[in-house]
Symmetry: C2
Subunit: 217 residues, 2 copies
Amino acid sequence: MAAKIKIEKKILSENDKIAAAIRERLHQNNIVSLNFVSSPGSGKTSLLEKTIGYLGKDIKIGLIAGDVQTENDANRLKAAGGEIVRPVVTGGACHLDARMISKALENLDLEKIQMLFIENVGNLVCPSSYDLGEDMKVVLMSVTEGDDKPLKYPAMFRRSSVMIINKLDLLPHCDFNMETARQNALKINGKFKIFEMSCRTGDGLDEWYSWVKNPKI
Amino acid sequence: MAAKIKIEKKILSENDKIAAAIRERLHQNNIVSLNFVSSPGSGKTSLLEKTIGYLGKDIKIGLIAGDVQTENDANRLKAAGGEIVRPVVTGGACHLDARMISKALENLDLEKIQMLFIENVGNLVCPSSYDLGEDMKVVLMSVTEGDDKPLKYPAMFRRSSVMIINKLDLLPHCDFNMETARQNALKINGKFKIFEMSCRTGDGLDEWYSWVKNPKI
């Protein structure tokens, strides 16, 4: 397995170089960028639909929507008012990498946007290893997933700056302890900025909106 | 990237060889084996807790519980009555591979069990590529995840023989169309055996129990 590890390291370091170049380019253009990561079905697309619906009138947002197959998410984002949406179908790959983002940016006029939202592939493991040049990662989990997720998938939670606990409306129907989830998350990452919300009912979204307009940790 | 692809292929073919050896050994011992795969939080551990609670009196079941970190799942299975539970902590790897299973089997007396249940890492992408020597894969999704998951993660659904739609109790609170989910799944895999259930309320479990005692497709 040594050869595999060596090559993986090389690929990751190449990825880091491309990511650094992306970060520099985005900063030169004063673009704030967020990389949204989570399990499949935690609500990344729903959150982005709501967020672009709310912020889109004041802020020009570029969206890169990654998926293993289909452009379902990209189409949902367009339907929700996303004007600048670039789908990236990985064709089987379990994560977005910096090269894919770099390619997607070729078709995106950076002078026309102020924010870039990247929706990663639904996967709580692999995307944690790939810097995409973003300012920060936002990790979502939903109350249907179990309050021990931060402990079971620590790399993703450690490398994210913001945690969103979604599907609050389902809380009365689930065996999910909010306090335990928060404590587990803070054990992994003591600096977490945490939001609780339901993208379905809109509960908790106001606090998110007022933060994400000018995201700082 | 050519070198990476070459080495990945080599590793996968090594994996297949080990998986074939595992399969032969399990069959020589008349052991039926199922590999449970899903997103994090779809309910693999809950399903196994219920299943060993019900079948465990009549059938000796070996359990291999894979996780990126923690032995939480293995501990839950022990608490639910699992007598022969082997945790496998992958230490960051996003899937179980055949080598890990082979190692776990070293500590498991195959003459003493009739079934082997493997709980894979919560990941709807990568575990699809790794044969573990099992008789079939059982893929879970929950009604909170969205009815388009089979289309978005086709490899996993194509390579599984059984699909379980879990968390039926949450259906009235979710925008999930059961018929659409079934149709999407059957588009990917026309031979799917599909179960609907709620591990929380027990709804639908009887049908699953009577099938899993002697699983055939």
